[in-house]
């Protein structure tokens, strides 16, 4: 399985990847990107099975990335993992085609539960 983790914070990418391993995805190939634009380019070239993405990022935000992906007909499973979470953001995320929006901080159990929806 190939998972793309997109976050402008290297520390947060490390935490998401740590949680992926704890959730049983230790064998997955994990790719990283530090903004939505690089995330989009990586998604096009690497065809990941799952994208875990932050919301606020430079160059291209997470929601812009998701909309661009879906506009290209790419239906890759996509989940937001973000420090900022409002009901409006959740609605926007789901309307744009995300499977979930998981707010930081999250427990390993939360992470497993959300990933079970898509992987």
């Amino acid at each position: 399985m190939k998972i793309l983790v997109v976050d402008d914070s290297k520390a947060m990418r490390m935490i998401v990847i740590r949680n992926l391993r704890q959730a049983g995805f230790g064998d997955a190939t994990v790719l990283e990107a530090d903004n939505g634009l690089i995330g989009l380019e990586t998604a096009r070239s690497e065809a990941p099975d799952l994208i875990l993405c932050d919301w606020n990022m430079p160059e291209m935000s997470g929601i812009e990335f998701l909309k661009a992906l879906r506009a290209e007909g790419d239906e890759t499973a996509f989940g937001f993992v973000t420090s900022e979470s409002t009901p409006a953001m959740r609605d926007q995320a789901i309307d744009a085609g995300a499977a979930f929006l998981l707010a930081k901080p999250f427990s390993a159990e939360d992470f497993q539960r959300f990933l079970a929806k898509v992987a």
Binding site: A11, R18, N19, S83, F106
Partner: protein, 169 residues
Amino acid sequence: MPLIPPAAKIPLPIQEVLAEFFIDLLGKGAAASKTRELKLQPQTESKYVVAVYEDNYERVGAVCISELLMAAVGGAALVMAAPSILPEVVAAEKLPENLLDNYKEVVNILCSVLNTPNTPHLRLAAIHAFPDEEMGQEVWEVLDRPSNRRDFEITVEGYGGGKLSILAR
């Protein structure tokens, strides 16, 4: 032109909520207990880190003060850096840039304990490693006369800890 609503009071977390926050974020044991007030004066150099949270109208809603060691612990534990670096930080009385960057992520996510469905949404607006007048009058007003404050001693398994205070407008 839409009216700007009056600034609302921000509810502050209790120690159990803060402990759970650090446990979930850092993936290790953590505890929070009440402690004495942290008093901040201008030009205290880098012994404190001040995080400023603003609402959608760019008004300061809350401020978080962290002792230097607390910021170092948070920044190190977030990326599972070796705790052995902490005495050097304390001796130097200065937070290295990498730990400050990591701690910025900690206080960014800490905002989640300040946001409720019934109060204005806050987000991290700035982080100051050198608390001084450049933080702005509004920040100093909250520091000097908060409507509410909670002061905590935070401990992170394997790292130790320090003091952290959250002050509401």
